[in-house]
Structures are given as structure tokens and as C-alpha cells.
């Protein structure tokens, strides 16, 4: 036990002596949260819209000012023919255009299926879809308004409620994502690199000749990163509560326990990589390609898993970050408890146990 302590002490010395890496380790989550929180946002505001108003009547001008009044759009150009619309899109200074036909107001008032043309720049398909939806919503709204004034026709008005995130903020989506990314990076890559470093410098040999148990060599290497990661979980949660106004709805204790489980899973993956590789470069490359990339692709943080082809959806199940992402979202955003996440926890635990067994098996083979 005393030997174990001297080893852990040495590992902390390694970590804290390397100031540059230390700053990165603790600074990375802060910077990522701030960047995602304030710079990168998928909320659409003030999109530039072009209007061709051939109708020039009361109805069309009212609808235009309603669009202008919404925070999504900013009417930047009033054009007079189709050529100018083409010109506008080619110049890239507008995202969307609306064309009011000659008899727009007349058709609307007489109930003769008024038409409206909406053109969007679909070179960014997500943006185009979102913008056309906004336009449809605004026109539908407008229609309802004038119907109240004129003859009331019964229409179904769906009342939409955005559960858990009424303002459709981005933070509920990226905070769990950043947490998964940061923990993965620190635990998997740093652990793998620090174990492989001992192999590369030849000190591993000295350790294996010593009476210190090889399994303890590996375990004590993970302790500092467990510590660093728990601090990172704390700083991410603090930032999201204090700076991003994203409260933790569920149990903080449960969230911390689940985070610890994920950290341990990542440490095990780091050990597994270190057993399999001989150089620090290889360890780093495998951690990045084998862990970070799948996390970005398959955790559901950046791309919805539901939209992927079946085989990819199946692959996504072996990515630990996917389960952690779901767990954090459930606890933090939805305020759900253990009964909602036990299945995901089991998956995570299963992955951890599997790689632990595999890592230990390979480790023993290497020693013989």
C-alpha cells in the first residue's frame, strides 16, 4: 500500500510538472464551453431576406412588415424582377426570397387560394429548411389573424410546447456533448500516452523488475487523470449553471456518479490502447481516430443518430460517449432519475467490463 502511494505521488508529480499540458487539461473544458456557448450557435437570427412584391397591396405590405418584425428575418432588399432575385442569391448576400404574385391581396380576401413563392439558398440545407419553416409559420400566423377579423372558419390550431427546452437554446445539447468530449480526451489519450511513455523511455522495464505489481503500475497511472477529470466535470457544470443559465434539473449526486462511471470507462479504454501500442504517437493517433472521431459522429451530439442508416445506428451502440450523452441529458436537462437511465448505465458498465477484461488479458500475454 505504501508502495502504491509513492507511485501515485510520482504520477501526480509527472502531471503537475508539465505546466503546458496542465493548462490545456484544465483550460480546455472552459474554452470549449465558452466557445460553444457564445460563438457557435445553431439558432438563426436576422437572416437576410429579399422581397419581390408584385401585388403592392395592403395584405402583402402587412405580411412583409410582420416578417420584418420577427427576430428571424431582416428584409435587406426590395427587388422588382426575377433577375434581381437571381442576382441576390449569386451575390450570396441573402438566404431567402419571397415573391408576392400580382393578385395576392385579392385572392386572400376573396378566399381563392392565395399563393406565395419562397426561394431559399439550399447550399446550406439545414438553414434553408429552417428558414422556409419560419416563413410558413409567419404566414400561417398572419392568416389566422385576418381570419379572426373576417369570417371565422374552423381551423385546427396546434399548440406547440417545446418540452425541457422551451427557448430552443443550444446549451442543453452541447453541454453534455462537451462533457463527453473533454472527459474522453483527458482520460483515454492522457492515460494511454502516459503508460506508453514508460515503455518508450525504458522505465517500464525497471518497474517490471521491481517487486511492484504490474497491475498496480497501470492502476496508479490512472489516478491523477481521474482526479483531473472530476475537477473538469465540476468546472463544466459550474460554467453551465452560472454562465449559460442551464440549471441541473435532476440529482447532482446521480450525475456525478454517472460521470465517474464514464471516466472509469475512458480510463479503461486508455489502458487498453496503451497495452496495444508501443509508441506515444501511435497511442495518440489511436485515441484521436478511434475515440474522439466516433464520439463526434456517433454520440448524437452533432448528428442525430435516428437519421443514420441502420448499420451505423448499430455501430453507435458500442460508443460509450453515446450512452453517457443520453445519461447526462436525461439527468441534467430532463431532470429524470435512475429509473430512466439504468439501461444506459448498464451499457456503459458492460463496455467498461469488456475492455477491462480484454486489456488485462493482453497485458498478461505481454508479460510472459
Amino acid at each position: 500500500m505504501k508502495q502504491f502511494w509513492s507511485f501515485i505521488r510520482k504520477e501526480f508529480l509527472h502531471v503537475f510538472r508539465d505546466r503546458k499540458t496542465l493548462i490545456i487539461l484544465f483550460g480546455m473544458p472552459v474554452v470549449q464551453i465558452l466557445i460553444f456557448g457564445f460563438a457557435l450557435t445553431n439558432e438563426i437570427k436576422n437572416s437576410r431576406i429579399m422581397v419581390l412584391d408584385a401585388a403592392h397591396d395592403i395584405q402583402s405590405s402587412r405580411l412583409i412588415s410582420k416578417i420584418q418584425a420577427s427576430r428571424y428575418f431582416q428584409v435587406t432588399q426590395i427587388v422588382h424582377n426575377e433577375a434581381e432575385i437571381q442576382e441576390g442569391f449569386r451575390g450570396g448576400n441573402v438566404n431567402i426570397a419571397i415573391v408576392f404574385p400580382l393578385n395576392f391581396g385579392h385572392d386572400l380576401e376573396s378566399g381563392e387560394r392565395p399563393q406565395l413563392q419562397v426561394l431559399a439558398d439550399a447550399s446550406d440545407p439545414n438553414l434553408a429548411t429552417a428558414l422556409t419553416n419560419y416563413v410558413s409559420n409567419i404566414t400561417a400566423d398572419y392568416q389566422r389573424e385576418i381570419q379572426k377579423i373576417n369570417t371565422p372558419i374552423p381551423t385546427i390550431v396546434p399548440e406547440i410546447k417545446m418540452m425541457y427546452n422551451p427557448q430552443l437554446k443550444g446549451a442543453p445539447n452541447f453541454v453534455p456533448g462537451v462533457m463527453a468530449l473533454v472527459l474522453l480526451l483527458v482520460c483515454v489519450m492522457m492515460t494511454a500516452v502516459s503508460i506508453v511513455r514508460e515503455k518508450e523511455t525504458g522505465t517500464m522495464e525497471i518497474l517490471l523488475v521491481s517487486p511492484f505489481k504490474p497491475i498496480l503500475v497501470i492502476l496508479s497511472k490512472t489516478i491523477p487523470y481521474l482526479f483531473v477529470s472530476l475537477i473538469n466535470v465540476g468546472s463544466i457544470l459550474l460554467l453551465s449553471v452560472l454562465v449559460l443559465d442551464l440549471p441541473i434539473h435532476g440529482s447532482l449526486l446521480l450525475l456525478l456518479l454517472e460521470s465517474t462511471l464514464f471516466i472509469i470507462t475512458c480510463l479503461i479504454l486508455g489502458i487498453f490502447i496503451s497495452v496495444k501500442t508501443q509508441t506515444m504517437q501511435a497511442a495518440m493517433l489511436i485515441s484521436l481516430m478511434g475515440m474522439l472521431l466516433p464520439t463526434m459522429l456517433f454520440s448524437g451530439f452533432m448528428f442525430p443518430i435516428e437519421n443514420m442508416p441502420k448499420p451505423l445506428q448499430i455501430i453507435s451502440n458500442i460508443i460509450p460517449s453515446k450512452w453517457f450523452y443520453i445519461i447526462v441529458k436525461s439527468i441534467m436537462i430532463k431532470g429524470l432519475g435512475w429509473e430512466a437511465i439504468w439501461k444506459e448505465t448498464l451499457y456503459l458498465l458492460g463496455i467498461a467490463v469488456f475492455f477491462f477484461a480484454l486489456g488485462m488479458k493482453n497485458f498478461k500475454i505481454r508479460l510472459a
Binding site: 505504501k2 508502495q3 502511494w5 509513492s6 507511485f7 505521488r9 510520482k10 508529480l13 509527472h14 510538472r17 508539465d18 523511455t201 525504458g202 522505465t203 522495464e205 525497471i206 518497474l207 517490471l208 523488475v209 521491481s210 517487486p211 511492484f212 508479460l367 510472459a368
Partner: protein
């Protein structure tokens, strides 16, 4: 196998598939002896040494290290040996004092013992001013002396030195050997592999391995006599010429 030898090896063999890396080597090393273990690259030195350190299980044959069996008592062997390799055995990003503390710690020295021994070690090497310096900032020769002193900090019965003086100048090498003599005088057996033939002359006895077998084993002077040459280098050349798997 009861005996008073520090190291006792009898027909020790290691096979990797069809390849016999170490082919039935036998020798005994006395306590406090400096035993040179020579051989060209690929002759099987490293494999033999790994078996003696309890890092690799032999295919056949017998061996006891400090009286402990290499098959069954590897844990006890590890407690009773020190090891220093050609690559650095120290952590470059830790200070001199931290390195001493760490290695003392994993060999289970308690706090008081550790404090006394590290003070004594630093004083003996004359490194009082450098104790708080990072290892990567001290000269190569000093690192090696420090690494050796750390390897025998826990007073092992035997210290294994795997090409300990690679890359340093002859003067520093000479000083390094003074440390080995001091250790041997205090009763520690030194088992040394080296590429430098002048160092072979410093050993009490040497063995020369060729193609997995021990081709010669005696005092350096006796070997020179036997082959009628003037230097250990000539002895080595004479024996290694017949090797089929060296890269000389």
C-alpha cells in the same frame, strides 16, 4: 538446489517456437563477485538476463537467484535484485531527490529509512546542490551514477547492469566502475553486460555467449592466456567470428 552461490544457472534454455534464443547455459556466480556477461548483439544475452530477473519464464533448465527459484519465486527474486538498463532508469521530469524517493518507495523502504538513505546517497555522489534539479538537466555521466546508486538503494543481493555505460566517455566510465567496485566490496554481486572490452577487463570473471551458448567462462587473464592473445577484444573477436547470428 542448496548452495551459497548468488546466481546459479544449470542448463537454462529459452525457446521461441523453433528458435533457441538461450541454449542450455550453465554457470555460477559467487556473492560479491563482478561477473561480466558478454556476447554480440543477438547472442541471447538479453533473453538470458530477462529470465534471471524473473521477467521471462525459462523453457527448461534450472536457475536460482539469491537462492530463489526462477520458476516459482519470481516475486522474492524481484525483492532481492536491483536492475539498471542501457536506457535510462530514471524519470527525466522528476528531480534527483524525487527519483530517489520514488524508487526507494516502490521497494518498500519506510520514510525514515528513505530519508537517511537518500541523504547518504546524495552526499556520496557529491550532489547536494543538485538534489532539487530535474534529472534531464544533469550530465549523462551523473545520471548513470545516480541510476546505479538508485538501483542498489534497497541493498539487493545482486544488481543486474544491462550495458550501463553506453554513450559516456572513458573517464566517466572509469568512475562508474569505481561505484561497482564499492558495491561489490560491500557484498553486492554485480552481473554486467557490456560492449566495451576494456570494461570486460574490470570484471572478476567473464562469460562470452555465442549463438545462445556460453563459449568461454573464466578470469579475463586466464582467457587471454588460453587463446594466446593480448586483449579481451582479441578473445572476443576470436570467439565471435564463428557466430552465425551475430551482426558483427
Amino acid at each position: 538446489m542448496e548452495n551459497n552461490y548468488s546466481i546459479s544457472v544449470d542448463k537454462l534454455t529459452k525457446k521461441f517456437g523453433n528458435f533457441t534464443a538461450v541454449d542450455a547455459i550453465s554457470f555460477d556466480v559467487n556473492g560479491g563477485e563482478i561477473f561480466g556477461f558478454l556476447g554480440a548483439n543477438g547472442a541471447g544475452k538479453t533473453t538470458a538476463m530477462r529470465m534471471l530477473c524473473g521477467l521471462s519464464i525459462p523453457s527448461s533448465g534450472k536457475a536460482t537467484i539469491a537462492g530463489f527459484d526462477v520458476y516459482k519465486e519470481t516475486e522474492k527474486i524481484k525483492r532481492n535484485i536491483g536492475y539498471m538498463s542501457q536506457k535510462f532508469s530514471l524519470y527525466e521530469d522528476l528531480t534527483v531527490a524525487e527519483n530517489i524517493q520514488f524508487f526507494g518507495g516502490i521497494y518498500g523502504l519506510d520514510r525514515k529509512e528513505l530519508r537517511d538513505k537518500s541523504a547518504e546517497l546524495i552526499a556520496r555522489l557529491g550532489m547536494e546542490k543538485d538534489a532539487k534539479k530535474l534529472v534531464n538537466s544533469i550530465p549523462l555521466g551523473w545520471k548513470q551514477k545516480l541510476a546505479f546508486s538508485v538501483a542498489i538503494l534497497h541493498r539487493p543481493e545482486i544488481v543486474f547492469l544491462d550495458e550501463p555505460t553506453g554513450g559516456v566517455d572513458p573517464l566517466t566510465r572509469r568512475q562508474f566502475w569505481d561505484l561497482i567496485y564499492q558495491a561489490a566490496d560491500s557484498g553486492i554481486t554485480a552481473f554486467v553486460t557490456t560492449h566495451y572490452m576494456d570494461e570486460a577487463e574490470y570484471c572478476n570473471r567473464i562469460s562470452i555467449m555465442v549463438d545462445g551458448k556460453i563459449e568461454a567462462l573464466d578470469k579475463p587473464a586466464a582467457l587471454k592466456n588460453k587463446y594466446g592473445v593480448n586483449s579481451m577484444n582479441d578473445v572476443f573477436q576470436h570467439l565471435a567470428r564463428g557466430a552465425s547470428r551475430s551482426d558483427l
